[in-house]
Amino acid sequence: MVYVAVFLASFSSLAFEVLLARIFAVSQWHHLAFMVISLALFGFAASGVLLSFLDAWKKGWEAHLSGRRPLTLSLGLYSISALSAFIILNRLPLDYFRLPLAPIQALYLLTAYLVLSIPFLVAGGVISLAYAARVERTGWVYFATMSGSAVGAMVPGLFLPLFGEGKLLVFVCLAPLAVLPFYGKTRFRVLGAAVFASLIALAAALPVDHPLIAVRPSPYKALSQTLKFPDTRITGTTSSLRGRIDRVESPYIRYAPGLSLRYTRPMPRQTALFTDGDNRLVLYDVDAPADLDFARFTLSYAAYRLLPEPDRVLALLAGGGAAIPCALASGAAAVSVVHSHPAVAAMLKDHYGLPTTAAAHREYLASSRERFSIIHLENWGASLTGSDALQQDYDFTVDAFGAYLDHLTDDGVLIMSRRLLLPPSDALRLWASAFEGLRNQGVAEPRRHIAMLRNWDTITLIVSASPLGAASGAAPNGNPLMDWAREMNFDAVYLSDMTPETANRFNQFDKPFHYREIQALAAAYAAGTEADFFDGYPLDAAPQSDRRPFPGRILKRSELETLYKSMGSRMYAMLMSGEVVVGVVFVEALAVALLLLAAPVWVVFRKGEGGSVSGVFYFLSVGAGFMFGEMYFIKAYALLWGHPLISFAGVIGALLIFSALGGALSQRMGREAIPRILLLLLGFFALTVWGLNGLIHGMLGWSAGARYVVGAALLLPVGLLLGIPFSLGMRLLLASPRQRTYAWAANGCASVLAAILSEQAAVAFGIPAILGCAMAGYAAAWAMAALCRTDPALSP
């Protein structure tokens, strides 16, 4: 019964966590989800602390509580608390942005923390209890935990399309009650079976849009704002790990960023697709050629002025949607479309009848040998600036520019548009990334291949495979791009031969800020002082590689105070930034961790029953090392497997299965294996730092199946090794139930803190920095293991 209970609690709590992340992604923002879920996970650690107190109060509790009835009751309590937490959270009028303005919001936030931590507390209690009760079988307890968690990580991916977020969460919460028909006397078994079957039937009958379980997007998101229009409705919803897609029909959807004010005719009718309630992609009805006219007046059409009637166009879409009308309006001979979400790709294909591929952009480019006259990337990012600072995106790295340039014909053009931000930040990064991408290709004068134009709210980067002067041909002033920009009332930001008066002619700022900064940047590159430029710039605008792919990250910690003052010293504005939220969460988490670990110290160590300090630090180090290692692979595999959440579920699933096997193997090992395994892990991590990035890039062009299988297989050795130190330490380095429950708490606290630090390390220093932290964690564990006393009675 103990192992089954541990398996079910682990399965359900991990699936619950993954689904909460999905629900928050829709109802709030990614970084705010991170804020609540991270702290709720302290419930695991708190369970160890509570059981430590229990041990001080009552001896033999572990034997009593590991009986069938208490375990069944615990699983029931878990199900009730998890379901209640979801329902309360779904109805809580929690509004993060009002936190600094309305004190009641702090109470709501505290409520969210508390109600969400209870199911994790109960699940953690079941697992912690198992370690305390099955001292001689910690490897098998570990196996049950990890295999349950692995299944829990994979279930949402498989069943989300069938049930949607809310309904699947109900099933997941009820899953541990599957034990009811198997324990107790016959009449209780029959009753248990009836209760379980009734609850499942009730959940199955619940409509996905029932107010109790329907997940509504944040009122700040584009979908909520669109739904406020009359005669506007959602006509279809598809859920998956890659995101929830809502299809919205409305006579009032009119989306055309970058549209020239010279355009005076009507817009075609549009349908919008929203991913997670935001990131709008629009499908334009094209019933007649005139419906495409508007596209010729958008800033992105600049590429088609350079290459009229192009042979082949590749539209890489991650939002927007105007790229397709642009390509169609130009009279392109062939247009190919790529979108990473299979459901969106299917809708695009159905709507336009163009060849459409469902793949991540980098994955598509790596697998294709075709060359295109125009590559049009449309990726506008989140509607709230800063909210996507933690999100990995491989569309804008220097490596991505290399991939785009590899797929351009000799006179081909790459084009991408973004929101115009002030002060200039991502415009500088885009320009620099294009420059370095061209330079890496061996282009002698990269600056002659780059142009940048803007209107009043968007900016467009144009990168040409051949020098732009040569492409421009004959025109009244020698540059058709400038003539067209003037005709459309657009301004130039960068052209190698532009004059300053064209920089602030139609769309006037107090000063031509973007032009000035990019001129200064170009001059820095010419002088070889670009590093100094980026150091001195108040925002983080340096180009990023695939090792640090966070295009939304623009804050510099050293400039936070200046930024805070520039936003009117209003704290809520800072909460829009993912990075600031991570900092706040870390401080909160550190306080909670210290409280949890300090509270039982007096009780644990009072009667001389406590373990050594080195033992506690061993489990802190192992907990941190494991989480850093896991987070590294989750982030590194986002490129390989095409989406951060696919990577999250896949890496956790594979790594935990292999760790489970490692835990089982540890049953055959003795004390002497601990330092050896830790050294092997350190060696393996060193090998990973050296070779994994190249390996992933080498595999990018493979079929999806091959990438999934080989990627998972690569996790086998590290997973096995990761599974051993904890279970072996639990069995051989600790001597009493109280020590084990406290070690469980220490391990849980370290895991939460490491997960938060991983986010900060990745955005600030790059993904490999996380692995550096993992190595530090395991090196510390190695040192602590050497200092720990061994209990000879516990050796195999």
Partner: protein
């Protein structure tokens, strides 16, 4: 232990001390608050057009906000008015009005009547004001409130502001009170030569830039005026 009568007396005293003093709520004219608003929130931030300041001093903002939050009508932030809409911060109303460079003879079109307050302020500066609201409930309420407050000359219409008001075009000025990603082409077509169009740019709940477009023959110039930061409203408020 305190006696019961003493406790009752204590609570009565608290009730007396905290009860509103002076005019009944409906009869208050908030003149003092309005003058204070203009001085502290508007003039101090650089709005100096006498006509605009006069309109801001005379327009009873409290008559355009829901009763429940009437006390906050002259505070330095926007307020929810229902249907997911807000009444803008007083400073933004004044700034947008000033930037339109209106005279008594101007004909001005507002897209998004909302509470009707902005239209009332415009009517204090220009004689000919047209306002369109897409939400019927808001349109009806605003039309009624405008009449009650003595602004019956404002022409209101329930409809899609994207297409403007062709029968009344051309306009000297157009004001869009909702954030958009592009300026509706039909509105530009209804602007006189030299006419001005102002709108907030950005997410309605975060940073916005005020943008002023001016028609010059067949060309347009767009001027970025200032960054504004709107205080967000709760989801609860949005659903009222």
């Amino acid at each position: 232990m305190r006696s019961k009568p003493r406790m009752v007396g204590f609570f009565l005293l608290i009730l007396v001390l905290t009860a509103p003093v002076g005019f009944p709520e409906g009869a208050r004219n908030f003149q003092k608050e309005r003058h204070q608003m203009v001085g502290v929130q508007i003039e101090a931030r650089g709005v100096d057009d006498p006509e605009v300041l006069s309109a801001m001093r005379s327009t009873p903002r409290h008559q355009f906000v829901p009763d429940a939050i009437r006390d906050q009508a002259y505070s330095d932030h926007p307020l929810p008015i229902g249907e997911g809409q807000t009444i803008s911060q007083p400073y933004i109303v004044a700034l947008m009005t000033e930037k339109l460079n209106l005279s008594k003879e101007s004909k001005v079109l507002e897209i998004g009547t909302g509470s009707g307050y902005q239209a009332a302020v415009l009517a204090g500066v220009a004689d000919s004001v047209y306002s369109i609201e897409i939400k019927k409930a808001l349109h009806e309420k605003a039309t009624q409130d405008l009449r009650k407050a003595g602004y019956g000359s404002v022409n209101t219409r329930h409809g899609d502001g994207y297409f403007g008001w062709p029968e009344a075009a051309p306009f000297d000025a157009i004001l869009i009170t909702a954030a958009v990603d592009h300026i509706p082409p039909p509105l530009l077509g209804q602007l006189k030569d030299g006419g001005r169009l102002i709108l907030p740019l950005g997410n309605p709940f975060s940073y916005q830039n005020l943008v002023l477009a001016t028609k010059k023959g067949d060309n347009y110039t767009v001027q970025q005026i200032t960054g504004v930061l709107f205080v967000p409203m709760t989801g609860e408020a949005l659903e009222r």
